[in-house]
Every structure is written in structure tokens, then in C-alpha cells.
């Protein structure tokens, strides 16, 4: 188990090195002089002396590999440089925004499961009926609506007529989370309801379900305790990939609902060409995505005791 963990964490290193290096190269070939960008963002007059000083502060005199190694040296100690716009340390800016994004992602996940579990189960039990076909169409439609459009629709037709539902920021506690979570979780719920339906149908044909039924167990117990639990295992596998959609989705949702999270920080940084913040965001997303996937792999063990960890891969035996 520990060996598996160590191995997984080790594979993370080349991936993070690779992607941060690529963003470094991209920033280097992108048009515009970072020193000049930094000065103009801070409203400092662009004079040769100021430029010289900014170049020095950013270490631009060094060749690219040296600059990358310097950045890396800082990153390992948690120092990601300072933001071009605010002059604050990037690490502090990101950390202060992180709780809002985690809250939003968690809300999205809750919405996703709250919708997908009942809908997927119902569709499986109603297989082949009109309701099932309607469910397939609804899922396809749900997956086809862009989240930014869905968010605006929710604001226009739910929040505006009902004034008690806030539309901006996270100032009003849990209720502020309602519409952003719905926007984030809805499209994924459609997908997951379909997956759950397919898995459930497959599990329901297995022998242990028949034996459970023949033992006279109530249908609700058979579905709830036996079938659903097994049908959820492959769903959890996919959660890892979904995390990516969730993390990407937060960018859009945070923008629509003025949610003060990391995604908004990143979009603002992109418009400002605030390179240190962009670089920090890339690193954070990479680390988050890989760690979440690791967490999910580990959680199989609780759902499916047969899972063994070997050769660096979680395999269901």
C-alpha cells in the first residue's frame, strides 16, 4: 500500500516538471516583454532604468533553463514569485482563493450525485419504457447545454424572479452556493445518470442478485444494498476524469457568478498577462488533478475489497 502510494507520487514529478517547463517555453516565445508588462500593470513609468530594474527582479537576464531552475527552486519552497498586478506573493493569492473553489467543486459534486443517483436508478428500473427513452434524450440534451448558458438561464429565470436567491459572490453562506453548484453539476449529472443506468443493468443480471432475490430479500434492499454498490464502482473510476471537467468548469462558473475563486484569479491573470499567477495556476491544477485521482484510486478499496494495488496500477481482480 505504502509502496503503491510512493510510486504514484513519484510519477507525478516528471508530469509536473514537463508541464511547467512547457508553460515556461510558451511564455518565453509569447509576444511582449514580461518586464514591460509588469511595469505597465503596476503603473510604473517605462524608462530604461525601470526596465533594467524590472528585468533584474524577474531574472530575465539569465537564459531560459537557468530561469526555469530558479523558479523551480522557489516553487519547491512554496515561493511562486510575485503577482505582476498586486505585487503580492502568488502563493498567498492562490491559497486565499482556494477555499471558495473547493467549496464550489464540492457543491457541484453533491448536485451531480443528488441528480444522477435517483435518475440513473429510475432509468435502469424502467428500462425500455417511454420514461427510459425520455431519460436518454434528457441526458443528451443536458450534456449539450454549455455551462455558461445554463448559468445565465438560471440567473434569468430562477434567481431574478426569486429575490432571495443570490446571484453574485459567496457572501450569503450556503444559499449563495446553490446556483453555481447547479450550473457546475448539471451537465455531469446527465452523463453520470446514463453511466449508472448502464452499470446497474449489467449488475442486475449477475448471479448474486438472483440469489439475493431468491432469498426473499425485498427489491429495495436488493437494489439499494447489493446492486447499487457494485454499479457505483466503475462510476468512481470515472470520477477521476470528471475532476478535470469540474476544475475546468469552475473557471466558467466563477466568472458568471462573480465567485471569488482560483478560476477567476486565473482568468484575470490571463487578461493581464500576469505570468507568475498563470504559472502558479498551472502548477496547482496539475497537482490537484493528480492528487484527486490518487484519492479516487485509493477509495476503490472501500467500495471493492478485491482491489489490490500492484505494479503501480489499481486493478480490479
Amino acid at each position: 500500500m505504502l509502496k503503491y502510494l510512493a510510486k504514484r507520487l513519484l510519477t507525478l514529478i516528471p508530469v509536473l516538471l514537463g508541464v511547467t517547463f512547457i508553460t515556461f517555453i510558451l511564455m518565453d516565445i509569447a509576444p511582449g516583454d514580461p518586464a514591460e508588462i509588469m511595469l505597465s500593470r503596476r503603473d510604473i513609468e517605462i524608462t530604461p532604468e525601470n526596465m533594467e530594474r524590472a528585468r533584474e527582479a524577474l531574472g530575465l537576464g539569465e537564459p531560459l533553463p537557468v530561469r526555469y531552475l530558479n523558479w523551480l527552486q522557489g516553487a519547491v519552497r512554496g515561493n511562486l514569485g510575485t503577482s505582476f498586478t498586486s505585487g503580492e506573493p502568488v502563493t498567498r493569492e492562490i491559497v486565499s482563493r482556494l477555499p471558495a473553489t473547493i467549496e464550489l467543486a464540492a457543491g457541484g459534486l453533491v448536485v451531480m450525485f443528488a441528480l444522477a443517483l435517483p435518475l440513473g436508478t429510475a432509468a435502469a428500473l424502467l428500462k425500455g419504457t417511454f420514461g427510459d427513452h425520455l431519460g436518454r434524450l434528457a441526458a443528451l440534451v443536458g450534456a449539450s447545454i454549455p455551462s455558461f448558458y445554463l448559468g445565465l438561464l438560471l440567473i434569468t429565470y430562477i434567481a431574478v424572479p426569486n429575490e432571495w436567491i443570490p446571484v453574485m459572490g459567496r457572501g450569503n453562506g450556503l444559499i449563495s452556493l446553490l446556483l453555481p453548484s447547479l450550473t457546475l453539476g448539471f451537465g455531469l449529472a446527465a452523463t453520470y445518470a446514463r453511466l449508472l443506468r448502464a452499470n446497474l443493468l449489467e449488475v442486475l443480471q449477475l448471479d448474486f442478485i438472483r440469489s439475493a432475490r431468491s432469498r426473499g430479500l425485498k427489491e429495495a434492499v436488493v437494489i439499494g444494498n447489493h446492486a447499487l454498490r457494485n454499479a457505483l464502482i466503475p462510476v468512481v473510476t470515472l470520477l477521476g476524469i470528471t475532476m478535470g471537467h469540474l476544475l475546468g468548469g469552475t473557471v466558467v462558473v466563477e466568472r458568471i457568478f462573480a465567485w471569488p475563486g482560483v478560476g477567476r484569479l486565473a482568468v484575470d491573470a490571463i487578461f493581464d498577462r500576469n505570468y507568475p499567477v498563470i504559472q502558479g495556476y498551472v502548477l496547482l491544477m496539475g497537482v490537484a488533478f493528480v492528487f484527486l485521482n490518487l484519492l479516487i484510486d485509493l477509495s476503490y478499496r472501500f467500495l471493492d475489497p478485491r482491489v489490490k494495488y500492484e505494479e503501480g496500477e489499481g486493478k480490479a481482480s
Binding site: 509569447a30 434524450l137 448502464a198 466568472r255
Partner: protein
């Protein structure tokens, strides 16, 4: 095969939607009643009427014309990105799968890096660094998407190259290029066509999302996502400004999804692309993907 496809009402609906959307948008120069670009403030926010079938936007431009031209822009860019992805992804996947060696190792490492990041996040960052604009969006999306095709094609080639017909061709002395061209490519293409169809839906979503964020199409160019962004200040007083482009995106993506779903049943019975239905795919297939035929 075709018959089976046409008998499924959902696939047929998808086909009809896509044909309709393509016709309406590609023929926009002929169909649009007005030029979509010139600003005319006296004509701002006109209601739907004879002159302007869907009314005008806050800058007095014909909404219908912008919708048609905007769709053409979204679709043209989606198709161009797809073409780039296919031109890179298929050859790399074929070569890596069949020849193996260094190219294969490099591909797998690159794939590890690219797939370690959420696609939209990566595209966002790349456009962010290159600067806003449709061309940069194209580069960003192509950069992050070709790897998926290369991986899937490589996976298919790995299983195909042990099949008898390939071994026979090799025994007969066919050079590698001949085997790839005559035997592997034709077998790889049908599942790739399914992937490409579903991917077009995702590309339409990505391009409009990035444009909505202000990173893609720049004003005054019409593009569906950008149009919704321009309509943001008017969602309460003039909701139709966002409803038209928003519905247009949803219907187009739905069309691609329906069509791709239907094509998969016909072209990809092995289910290479099954998980990709909703853009969730990765080449490593969980066990449930195998027998998921009964829907």
C-alpha cells in the same frame, strides 16, 4: 448498416439537425438579410419585425444575420481544429503503435503530461499566454486535443497488428508503410470517425466557451459564445439576445452527440470510443465499457 442507422430515430434526428445547421450557417452570406457587422445605434434593440426577423442587438445589428454568420464562424473553426488534430493524431498514433520504439515512448510521455491536465484548463492557459483571438484558440485546442487521437489510434494498432491479416501481409513482404496504409488505416478510420463526430460537439462547446470568456472571437466579429457574452448585461430586459445563440449552440452540440451516438453503434461495435461519448474518455477502459451494449 446504413439501414440500421437510419432506423434509429435519434441518430436520424442528429443527422437532420447537423445537415440543417450546416446548410443555414454555411449559406449565411446568401441567407442573411443584413451585413452582420455595421453598427447603427438609432436601430438598437429593435423588436422582431419585417426588416429584422429576430430584431436587433444593443448596437443595432441584425440578430438573425449575426446568428447565421456566428454559426459559420463557430463551425468553420471547429472543423479546422478537427482537421489539424486528425492530421497530427492519426499518423503519430499509427506510427507509434506499429513501429514502437523511441517515437512510441515520446508519445506516451507527452500524453501523460497533456492528459494530466483538464483540457479546458490547458486550452485556457495556452490561449492566455498566446493572447486572445480565434487563431490562438485554434492552436490551443489543437495542441491539447491531438494526443487523445494519437493514443486511441495507437491502442487500436497495437491490437490490430497481431491479427492474422496483418501478419499475413508482413509474411508476404509488404513494407511497413504499405501495411499501415493498406491494412491499418482503413480499420482505424471508422472508430476515429465516431470520435471526430462527438469531438466536433466538444469543440463547438470549447470555442464558444473560450469566446464567452473573451479569449476567442473579438468584437465586432459574430460568434455564438461571444454573442452571449455581449448579451450578458441585457439578460433580464432582453433575454432573447442570449436565448438565440445559446439555443443554437445547444442544438448543434446535441446534433453532433446524437449523430455520434448513432454512428458508434454502426461503426464501432468494439467500443473503442464508448467512453468518449461525453468527452470523458481515456484509452484505459474500465471493465464496464465492454458489455455496455444493452441500451
Amino acid at each position: 448498416m446504413t439501414e440500421r442507422f437510419l432506423r434509429d430515430p435519434m441518430s436520424l434526428a442528429g443527422l437532420v439537425i447537423i445537415i440543417l445547421v450546416f446548410f443555414l450557417t454555411m449559406a449565411s452570406p446568401l441567407l442573411a438579410p443584413h451585413d452582420p457587422l455595421p453598427v447603427s445605434l438609432p436601430e438598437r434593440l429593435q423588436p422582431a419585425g419585417e426588416d429584422y426577423p429576430l430584431g436587433t442587438d444593443p448596437l443595432g445589428r441584425c440578430l438573425l444575420s449575426r446568428l447565421l454568420f456566428g454559426g459559420r464562424m463557430t463551425l468553420q473553426y471547429s472543423l479546422s481544429v478537427l482537421a489539424i488534430i486528425l492530421l497530427i493524431g492519426i499518423p503519430v498514433g499509427l506510427a507509434a503503435g506499429y513501429l514502437g520504439g523511441l517515437l512510441d515512448s515520446i508519445l506516451m510521455r507527452v500524453a501523460d503530461i497533456v492528459l494530466a491536465f483538464p483540457n479546458l484548463v490547458l486550452a485556457l492557459v495556452v490561449t492566455g499566454i498566446l493572447g486572445p483571438g480565434l487563431i490562438n484558440i485554434m492552436i490551443a485546442l489543437a495542441l491539447v486535443s491531438w494526443v487523445q487521437y494519437a493514443r486511441v489510434v495507437r491502442g487500436m494498432v497495437l491490437s490490430l497488428k497481431e491479427k492474422e491479416f496483418v501478419l499475413a501481409a508482413r509474411a508476404a513482404g509488404t513494407p511497413p508503410a504499405g501495411i499501415i496504409w493498406q491494412h491499418l488505416l482503413p480499420n482505424v478510420l471508422p472508430p476515429v470517425a465516431v470520435m471526430a463526430t462527438l469531438n466536433l460537439g466538444i469543440l463547438v462547446l470549447s470555442i464558444s466557451t473560450l469566446s464567452f470568456l473573451g479569449l476567442g472571437a473579438q468584437p465586432p466579429l459574430p460568434e455564438w459564445g461571444a454573442m452571449i457574452n455581449e448579451a450578458r448585461n441585457y439578460i433580464v430586459s432582453e433575454p432573447h439576445l442570449m436565448l438565440y445563440p445559446g439555443t443554437a449552440i445547444a442544438v448543434t452540440v446535441l446534433g453532433f452527440n446524437l449523430l455520434g451516438d448513432g454512428l458508434r453503434d454502426v461503426l464501432d461495435p468494439q467500443g473503442y470510443t464508448r467512453l468518449r461519448a461525453y468527452g470523458l474518455g481515456r484509452s484505459k477502459q474500465p471493465a464496464f465499457a465492454v458489455g455496455q451494449k444493452n441500451n
